[in-house]
Subunit: 383 residues, 2 copies
């Protein structure tokens, strides 16, 4: 994330995590441009940092972003909103910028945001700003981890410009963004309108196609910060493709780190009348617990796939649909095809292909199986 | 189910279940009325017996119903539809009625419906009809069990008339009916139009409020058979209330027997602007895996409740909502209230109360937690 020119970052331990690991990160844009764009959870139950950041992003200017793990500051009342506000003010003061240009993100347990939380976040913000460096991207990436088993970063080298990024997320990955914090930086020269359009386009086919457990978080935010320090105005198509590649790379890293999963499942829907239909069909399968549990049991249960897609209003005839698992067509036109014994579901990487026979549109949804470890991790860990 | 006058039933073992247990049931209406009403899965992927039964019920006349476990006869091609058709014809021939007045239901693995299946179902139908008796209700109830741990029956004694019922279902319990076969009998005197109206009204607030794992089956059917043998025309309101009580009793039995569940959860939504809003809010919580797993872990995670209801479009302000677990209000107006330690989630019976503060409508959704046993049973058992 500090690979592009013009950015400094840091990650420090402020005592929010009981493990003593890093839990506050700051990323600062040193310019010359201070363009920003951001997308937020579509959940109506929005955390205080989301409510704040939605105001900050309105003018397309972002100087810095402060992120903390170890507490979501969501449903913490007006005291919680003041904590977010004070965090932005403290950072702004130390950086010599306006508080209205400082984004704030939080992740952790809903309902966490008392006096102790506030004191630690403010102290951590000060500490992180004191440790800002042009090589601090990795530290920042580690500081936003919650149940993540690995830090997630991605870099793309363009034609004279660079994109860097970090992400956190290991569960509650659902549409309209996941429990996911993402910060993307670039030294390309972009206007605020371009940054916003590129970020929306890239997110639509990457993060918004990730549906790990169907649950949508209160704190999700994807942010793009533009320094313009390379001095290069990129080809719009090339930049959008690169940004999409970075977002897809991070989405796949999030999929691979989903809590307790034993299979990464790509649900590819083809032959759809529209892309919306393809997404709806793929998502209905991705969210079907009986399907997800069957994959955990290495059972290529195509009946559960058909039962799932039958709940959608997409255009197709259920008795025309083909379903393949890992390249073996098990169901063709509403009847069994190849024997299910031909499918080997022992590899982690799993592919389900659904041909709706209703058109030429397609989409891929990324999901995971539902496992004992998922149940264990999410019943033992309050989040 | 044979408690009301005018009905005979039987349950026999036809070899469809590998365990050798009973797997074919027949219920016959000896009249004088042969009124019937039925509701079917709203899944577009409908099994052959559903496609057949939808035609049978059109004229409101039902002489008999044949049900089998051990195979869903769904996505089994035209051969499978012919099997259903032949089943009705065989029963009709032996009973001396028209095949167009014989309903057929199947439950079990999707894709099962080959020559062996057909031969066993036809032989089982003959055998069951040979064993029909006015005390065969219990045998029939046992013959439709799949992963059910107990047979489910209910009886209501009205003012000169009786309602009897059996149900099977232990998973895939979702709206628009669950993987659920239900047969209800009554000796009250009802017209076909009344029977249909009463059944829809009763189902709407019972089976349609049960959402165990969000998955909707291809084979669900709820059938009401009316013999009129009591000669008594019931008070419409009293009959509807009694039918609703029977359906709710069965729904609660289904909830209590949901695969692998360790908590029965009643999600009571009050203060809603409309009943539809209350149902949508309750269902969003019932389907949230993180919520369901938290309950399994005895964690009264009110944050996950708010995150779930935030995904709906119901009328409410997320920062006005109250959430209580087992009578303890943990969240009030968007901030923590009582400490979560005050909630004891060790009992199986769990109550979540959500006050939307947006009106006077209410609804209760019945669901279960998501457990290790659910994952185990549904990954090991192909259904």
């Amino acid at each position: 994330m500090t690979a592009p020119q013009g950015f400094e970052a840091a990650g420090v331990a402020a005592g929010l995590k009981s493990t003593g690991k890093a839990d506050v990160a700051v990323v600062v844009n040193r310019g010359p441009l201070t363009v920003g764009a951001a997308l937020f959870t579509s959940n109506r139950a929005k955390a205080n940092p989301i409510l704040w950041s939605q105001q900050v992003i309105a003018d397309g200017t972002v100087e810095a972003i402060v992120l903390n793990s170890g507490g979501a500051n969501c449903f913490t009342g007006s005291f919680g909103f003041q904590t977010t506000h004070q965090t932005a003010e403290r950072a702004a003061e130390l950086l010599g910028v306006g508080a209205g240009d400082v984004l704030v993100c939080s992740t952790g347990l809903i309902g966490t945001g008392d006096e102790v939380f506030r004191a630690k976040v403010l102290a951590g913000t000060e500490d992180a700003i004191a440790h800002l460096s042009a090589t601090g991207g990795g530290d920042a990436a580690r500081a936003i981890m919650t149940t993540d088993s690995v830090a997630k970063e991605s870099v793309h080298q363009g034609d004279g410009w660079t994109i860097g990024a970090m992400a956190k997320g290991a569960g509650m990955l659902a549409p309209g963004l996941a429990t996911m914090l993402v910060v993307i930086t670039t030294d390309a020269v972009l206007t605020a309108a371009d940054a916003d359009a590129h970020l929306r386009a890239a997110t639509r086919v990457s993060f918004d196609r990730l549906d790990s457990d169907g649950c949508m978080s209160t704190n999700d935010q994807v942010t793009l910060m533009v320094s313009g320090a390379s001095g290069v105005t990129p080809d719009a198509e090339a930049f959008r493709a690169a940004l999409t590649a970075v977002c897809t790379d991070l989405a796949v890293q999030l999929q691979a780190d989903a809590e307790g999963a034993s299979h990464d499942i790509d649900i590819q829907v083809v032959g759809a009348a529209t892309e919306e239909d393809a997404v709806a069909v793929g998502r209905s399968v991705a969210r079907n617990n009986l399907f997800k549990v069957a994959i955990f049991g290495n059972d290529p249960n195509w009946g559960r796939v058909l039962a799932a897609i039958g709940t959608t209003s997409a255009s197709f005839d259920p008795y025309e649909v083909d379903v393949s698992f890992n390249g073996v067509r098990l169901c063709s036109a509403g009847a069994p095809d190849r024997p299910r014994e031909e499918v080997d579901l022992t590899p982690r990487s799993t592919s389900v292909l659904i041909d709706l026979k209703a058109g030429t549109a397609s989409a891929t949804i990324y999901t995971n199986d539902l496992t004992h470890d998922y149940v264990h991790e999410n019943s033992a860990y309050s989040s």
